[in-house]
């Protein structure tokens, strides 16, 4: 296996582009022009959630009213979580993914970016499996916006493997089949008598009779997929590559310093850019001039565009650029100077505008009649903080814009650049590099626009790399949330009614057109994990969308972490009310359905792994929590509490996960480990607040991250319940972490902390009997 780096070199990449346009690219040259046959496999809901089907959604709304439409949409989005719907499957045309190269190796082009989740390796495993070739005969290449596979989804939502798996299997099996058909002609033997041998086909019983892929590819006149019955997909129980802990193809370059990221991009004659930043949340640029920057050494270009709020500089070193932008004279209208108390008042899940996303029975009625238990859970703003800050290199020359950027969505970056520069989108090429972390932060990459603006003015390539403070303050954050849970129990220790009132600012809606907000009603990003998936006869979940002056958006798991913290903490509170074991209480409330059965499997697996029911080591206590979308997760946290200092130590988190078919078990476990660390950091440390009109953030001194000292041990099992397709793994395991830790804290102390993070101060307050 080799990994092509061509796309990362500005000079070579330009040449590659020219080649591609002439159509002289090996086997591709022989490929006839063909119409793209779309194979829509639509379910009713898949149809409804497609962005292009918003009109149809509106029609449904016209007939049944918006509340019904919004409920259907919410249910559809929950079904698509971490697996995608059929509508989101990438196309399965072989040439969009695969190309036979002159040396008869096969190149796999991936629109998905590698940001540490191992996706290049796991998708490559799928291709190798169905092509039937050996690992060394595949070349993996990062696709860019010049690819004919336009991937508007970007890389996020834990969708990559799930939405590639079926399509790429078909594309790879199809390519193998079409090559085999040609091989039968050349070797004058029936197709069934042939097998893949190295980089070609050979006759099974006389291996010296063989032909290479490249000459076969030249003879293929149409790459249309063969008919369904002749497209021989491997049986999943015959897989030899998918399901194996294949070593990641990006790791050798990452231990030797050779991997190239957006921040590392270089080009001859390049300059370094920096951009003036608004001093407050609402600040608008009203005046800018070069000021002292004009005379500073190293400054080559100053760009001022007050109308578009832009003032930037290009200089011959990064330090010079950063110094110069501070020396520019800028004047801002600061707007209202927001305070944290105002933000918290806004996030209240009450009043007008609540959208009911789940309703069964009459929860409100039961809760009015019976003795209801109510608890309120809160989570703060949080920063994604990928360790590589936003960075891009842009080269604007001769009417062509080329940008290399650390991005989770090169298609979105392309659109933003074209719009900002006022140029046609087809003159813009965006090439994704490796990402030094993404976590949702790099789905929107304004830095690419900044580099392009400066390069156009300077006439040479310009690299813009944000410093840490810019990265903390000028991206979007995880929204703060407030969840009010109410429940009532019947005389048999069962939940009779449960209600979840959830308030959050935008996640997905920050990036979507307004008409989709009407169709969807509730922001599926903000509400993920908010549903009540237990067997409760009366249940209602209502979400309030709250507009804040702070830009909020994608963050690992979206609303999953905060919502699961609220729901799964409250389940423990209800269990405690009837004196039930938290594990048994959950098992007793699982629905009698396939989803309920899968959740039972992971709960029982994590119970066994953690020794649930046995005494924990002295001074420690355990807590359990779970979450299920398509991927199902259960966790047990083992903690101790220093009642003097208020410090919580998380010793271990055990996890059982059913993510459907596992493509790379070691990669899956690595994702579990990472998610646990994120969950622990967010439960114990991470928080951001507003003060005097700005976020109280600067660098890591004001927003420390979890370190190895505070990292728990992580043990995990992957549970197989017979699902034959893969679901997502990059985010679901973050869901239960906060609740598992909180429930363990309660088991240890008899108290509860309902506001995240569980800082020593909040712990001490709870131990003293206070707190919400």
């Amino acid at each position: 296996m080799t990994r092509e780096r061509d796309g990362y070199d500005p000079v070579e990449a330009r040449e590659a582009s020219a080649d591609g346009e002439s159509g002289d690219g090996g086997a591709e040259g022989a490929e006839p022009v063909r119409s793209t046959k779309r194979r829509w496999r639509l379910t009713r809901r898949g149809f409804l959630i497609g962005l292009g089907a918003a009109g149809a959604g509106l029609a449904v709304g016209a007939f049944f009213g918006r509340p019904v439409l919004n409920e259907i949409m919410a249910e559809s989005m929950a079904e698509a979580e971490h697996a995608g719907s059929s509508f989101m499957q990438l196309p399965d045309d072989p040439p969009l993914w695969l190309e036979v190269l002159e040396d008869s190796s096969i190149r796999l082009s991936l629109t998905k970016v590698e940001m540490g989740q191992g996706v290049h390796t796991s998708i490559a495993q799928i291709a190798v499996e169905e092509l039937g070739i050996s690992w060394d005969d595949l070349v993996v290449e990062q696709a860019d916006t010049s690819s004919r596979l336009v991937d508007g989804m970007g890389t996020g939502g834990s969708f990559s493997v799930a939405t590639s798996y079926g399509s790429l299997r078909r594309a790879a099996a199809g390519m193998r089949s079409l090559l085999q058909r040609e091989a039968a002609v050349v070797l004058e033997r029936p197709e069934a008598a042939l097998r893949v041998a190295g980089r070609g086909f050979a006759v099974a019983d006389s291996p010296e009779s063989k032909v290479d892929f490249y000459s076969l590819a030249g003879a293929v006149t149409s790459w249309d997929l063969p008919e369904e019955e002749t497209l021989q997909l491997k049986a999943t129980d015959e897989f030899t590559v998918v399901g194996q802990p294949v070593a990641r193809i990006d790791i050798p370059d990452k231990v030797t310093g050779q991997a190239v990221y957006g921040y590392d991009m270089r080009a001859p004659n390049m300059l370094y850019g920096a951009v003036a930043r608004p001093p407050t949340l609402e600040a608008k640029l009203v005046h800018a001039s070069a000021g002292e920057a004009a005379a500073m050494e190293g400054v080559e270009e100053i760009v001022i565009d007050v109308e578009n709020g832009f003032a930037g500089v290009a200089a011959n070193s990064r330090s010079a650029a950063w110094s110069a932008v501070k020396a520019m004279e800028t004047e801002w209208d600061e707007g209202h100077l927001w305070q944290q108390e105002e933000i918290e008042a806004l996030i209240e899940p009450a009043g007008e505008g609540g959208i009911t996303i789940q309703r069964e029975g009459n929860a409100a009625g039961v809760l009015r009649r019976e003795t209801a238990i109510t608890a309120t859970y809160r989570s703060p703003f949080a920063v994604q903080a990928p360790l590589e800050a936003p960075a891009a290199l842009a080269d604007v020359q001769d009417g062509q814009v080329t940008v290399w950027v650390s991005t989770q969505s090169h298609e979105r970056a392309k659109g933003l650049i074209a719009e900002a520069l006022g140029v046609e989108a087809d003159t813009v090429r965006v090439v994704p590099t490796y990402l030094g972390g993404g976590f949702g932060a790099k789905l929107d990459t304004g830095v690419a626009v900044e580099a392009a603006r400066l390069s156009r003015a300077a006439g040479v390539p310009v690299h813009v790399g944000w410093d840490r403070t810019e990265a903390m303050l000028h991206g979007y954050l995880r929204p703060p949330t407030k969840s009010v849970l109410s429940g009532a129990l019947d005389g048999n220790g069962r939940i009779a009614a449960m209600e979840h009132r959830q308030g959050s600012s935008d996640v997905a809606f920050s990036f979507m057109p307004a008409f989709m907000e009407m169709v969807m009603g509730a922001d599926f990003g903000a509400t993920v994990g908010a549903r009540i998936d237990y067997d409760v006869p009366n249940r209602t979940v209502t979400a309030w969308r709250k507009k804040l002056p702070v830009w909020t958006g994608w963050w690992r798991g979206l609303g999953l972490f905060a919502n699961t913290f609220a729901v799964e903490s409250f389940i423990d509170e209800l269990a405690a009310e009837v004196g039930a074991d938290p594990l048994q209480f959950r098992l007793d409330h699982l629905p009698d359905s396939p989803a309920g059965g899968r959740k039972r499997a992971v709960l029982e697996a994590v119970a066994e792994l953690s020794g649930w029911g046995t005494a924990p080591p002295a001074g420690r206590a355990r807590g359990i929590a779970c979450f299920g979308s398509n991927t199902v997760v259960a966790q047990v946290a083992e903690v101790s509490v220093d009642e003097g200092s208020g410090e919580i130590t998380v010793h271990r988190v055990d996890c059982a996960v059913d993510c459907g078919l596992v493509v790379n078990p070691d990669g899956a476990k690595a994702q579990i480990e990472g998610n646990v660390m994120w969950g622990v950091g967010s439960t114990l440390i991470e928080q951001a607040y507003v003060k005097d009109g700005r976020l109280e953030l600067n660098n890591f001194e004001s927003y420390p991250l979890l370190t190895m000292r505070d990292a728990p041990d992580v043990r995990s099992v992957l549970v197989d319940t017979g699902i034959k397709t893969p679901y997502g793994m990059g985010e679901p395991p973050i869901g239960p972490v906060g609740a598992a830790i909180g429930n363990a804290f309660t088991a240890a102390t008899g108290r509860r902390v309902r506001t995240l993070p569980m800082t020593p101060a909040r712990v001490l307050e709870a131990l003293a009997g206070g707190g919400p």
């Binding site: 991997a259 590392d264 990928p386 410093d467 660390m677």
Partner: protein, 162 residues
């Protein structure tokens, strides 16, 4: 200004107050050393200066004039036939499939290599203490700890430093 980086001598015309990190990355093109925070907290920019692990984002060039600098690009040994032999720490990071995004990994590896030179047979607790000032946002801490412990074993008490 004279500087030796990965055994190669350089004469540089760079302001003395420029930070070593940017000299390595932008002047010498050695982008394996990463920028994370610029204030010495995260450790992504860790390099060796005369064998000691140093945060290059804080180090003015003038303060390391004449010093022997080693970066991630110079950690593996290349033998006479041009074959690259990974440093035991690098090999252990491959064996344990440690990196995810990889941005912090040069710093983690340089920190661990320097630490194991000073303490070739650390306890797990000593490893955790030595590695706890290097952030890994992807959360690879379990594997980093295991890999550093393995590297100590691999080195077998021999000198594993640069």
């Amino acid at each position: 200004m004279e500087l030796t980086v990965n055994g190669k001598g350089y004469t540089l015309d760079v302001p003395g107050e420029e930070r070593l990190l940017w000299v390595l990355r932008d002047w010498l093109g050695l982008t394996g050393t990463k920028f994370g925070c610029g204030i010495g907290i995260c450790g992504a920019c860790t390099v060796h200066v005369n064998g000691a692990a140093v945060r290059s984002c804080l180090m003015p060039l003038a303060a390391v004039a004449g010093a022997d600098i080693r970066t991630i690009e110079g950690l593996a040994a290349t033998d006479d036939s041009g074959t690259i032999r990974l440093h035991p720490v690098q090999q252990a990071f491959v064996d344990h499939q440690v990196p995810q995004c990889g941005w912090c990994m040069s710093g983690q590896i340089m920190q661990a290599a320097s630490f194991l030179t000073q303490n070739p047979q650390p306890t797990e607790e000593e490893t955790v203490r030595a590695m706890s000032a290097n952030y890994c946002r992807c959360g690879c801490y379990v594997r980093i700890r295991q890999a550093v412990q393995q590297a100590a074993g691999m080195a077998g008490g021999e000198e594993v430093g640069t």
